[in-house]
Amino acid sequence: MNWDDIKGLRYFIIYSILLIGFFIYSGMVGWLWFNPTKAEPVRGTGRSGHVYRYHK
């Protein structure tokens, strides 16, 4: 692999760096790109702590 090859492959190199960087970042924050568990986040409902809730 010489300098011309690196120049020719620059778009693939940039794409690979971005993809691997995103992969490492996702691994660090525990982000699963494909997750069969469909979790439904609900932000700050004020029901923090142990609450009683009837089953739906």
């Binding site: 692999m1 011309d4 020719g8 525990g30 997750n35 979790a39 986040p41 609900v42 029901r47 089953h55």
Partner: protein, 419 residues
């Protein structure tokens, strides 16, 4: 015909023609009437051609620099293959330092060819061979005739063209051309040139160059980088990703932060079980739930709410465990498992508890929940590997189809199958 001091007169119109090639010129066309004739006493009839000026992109006498040597265009011919009747152009070039060479042009694709010493095949008559590190393969074998000529030639281009059998071997962007007659053999080596490169070399406007059509038989698929470099880089990025995956997997905490066995009596008169609180540490990480229920020919369904004690943020999901078994014609069969797993992405650190809403069935009264923080996962690795392989995969698929197209005009195509 008569002449002196490198001037010859035309045998047809008697016009005086000054020879650019001086004593080297063996044949030429008259500048006044276009008649092709030989210098000296060759005793051959002059030839006249139908005017095919539109084929000529580089005028006679034009100088251009190729491989750091200045060449002058001495002659121009249009040749026609005798079997399939396709036409192409050839320019005879001359450099006082390197001798003569050729430029051939077909459908806007250019090859620069120069004579070489010896036989690249080492006198073994094979269709495929290795020369200077490249694998050459026979592309075409043909006879040709000259249908138009203009300028000067260092050989009788009509006679040479009609008396030789031509074989061309390619290893894009290179080629080897063999012109063989009963008493002569000439090998030329060639290299593909883009129209832009020829236009710049001979200071011709690109708009005057014939437009490129289809795939040239020596046109490289990709001149920006080599296949070897692409494979090498692809392997390198794959190994980098694998190393990152192994590092992240080995450094994952994979820590059990909560584990408890439950029985339906724990519900008492309520529909929900609230677990004790536990800490999720280490910033944002994933959380895995492992559920075990000893069901037999039954199912167990439950809804979970992972709740942050401080902010009230909830993450709700459901899981189902089912297991069935029995005997059918003497064979035991099973379906399902006693366990289920769920992973939540990007759960911030904090103090949490879980609200569990179980649905027990008639013969199932217990289940257990294990919660792990920061478990190693491999899905992202596989998706990244696929994403990285897309580029080389697309490249080689495209190259394959391009090669098929390149060889579609050849009688010696390696892709040819009788269908």
């Amino acid at each position: 015909m008569s002449g002196n001091n490198h001037n010859v007169s035309c045998p047809k119109c008697s016009a005086e023609n000054q020879l650019r090639g001086k004593a080297l010129t063996v044949a030429l066309t008259c500048k006044a009437c276009g008649t092709y004739f030989r210098t000296g006493k060759w005793n051959k009839a002059a030839a006249e051609f139908q005017h095919l000026k539109e084929y000529q992109a580089i005028p006679i006498g034009t100088r251009g620099k190729i491989d750091n040597f200045v060449y002058e265009v001495m002659g121009f011919v249009v040749k026609q293959e005798t079997r399939y009747h396709f036409k192409w152009c050839e320019y005879l070039l001359f450099s006082p330092y390197r001798g003569y060479a050729f430029l051939s042009e077909y459908d806007g694709h250019w090859n620069f060819l120069w004579p070489i010493e010896g036989d690249p095949r080492n006198n073994i008559k094979v269709d495929d061979f290795n020369y200077e590190g490249a694998e050459y393969r026979l592309y075409q074998k043909y006879n040709a005739q000259v249908v138009f000529a203009k300028g000067e030639f260092f050989f009788d281009v009509l006679d040479v063209t009609e008396s030789t059998v031509n074989s061309e071997f390619i290893a894009p962007p290179y080629m080897l051309a063999l012109e063989k007659s009963n008493d002569s053999v000439l090998w030329c080596q060639g290299e593909y040139f883009k129209p832009k490169e020829i236009a710049e070399a001979f200071s011709i406007p690109l708009s005057k160059m014939p437009p490129r059509q289809g795939v040239g038989y020596t046109q490289p698929f990709n001149s920006s980088y080599s296949d070897k470099a692409l494979i090498l880089f692809s392997v390198l990025v794959f190994l980098t990703t694998l190393l990152a995956q192994l590092t992240m997997s080995s450094s994952a905490e994979d820590k059990v932060v909560f584990q408890h066995d439950y029985h339906d009596t724990d519900l008492q008169d309520q529909k929900m079980i609230a677990t004790s609180s536990f800490d999720l540490t280490g910033g944002m990480r994933n959380v895995e739930f492992y559920i075990y229920a000893p069901v037999e020919n039954n199912w167990f369904f439950t809804e979970f709410s992972l709740i942050n004690d401080d902010t009230g943020d909830e993450y709700n999901f459901t899981e189902e465990v089912e297991f069935y078994s029995g005997y059918d014609e003497g064979y035991r069969w099973t379906e399902g498992t006693h366990t289920a797993e769920a992973i939540l992405s990007m759960i911030p650190a904090g103090r949490y508890h879980i609200n569990i809403y179980p649905e027990f069935n008639f013969n199932n009264h217990a289940f257990s929940v294990t919660v792990k923080r920061d478990v190693p996962v491999s899905t992202n690795f596989y998706l990244t590997a696929i994403g990285l392989l897309l580029f080389p995969a697309f490249y080689f698929v495209r190259k394959h189809y391009r090669e098929r197209k390149r060889w579609s005009d050849s009688d010696y195509s390696p892709y040819y199958t009788e269908e």
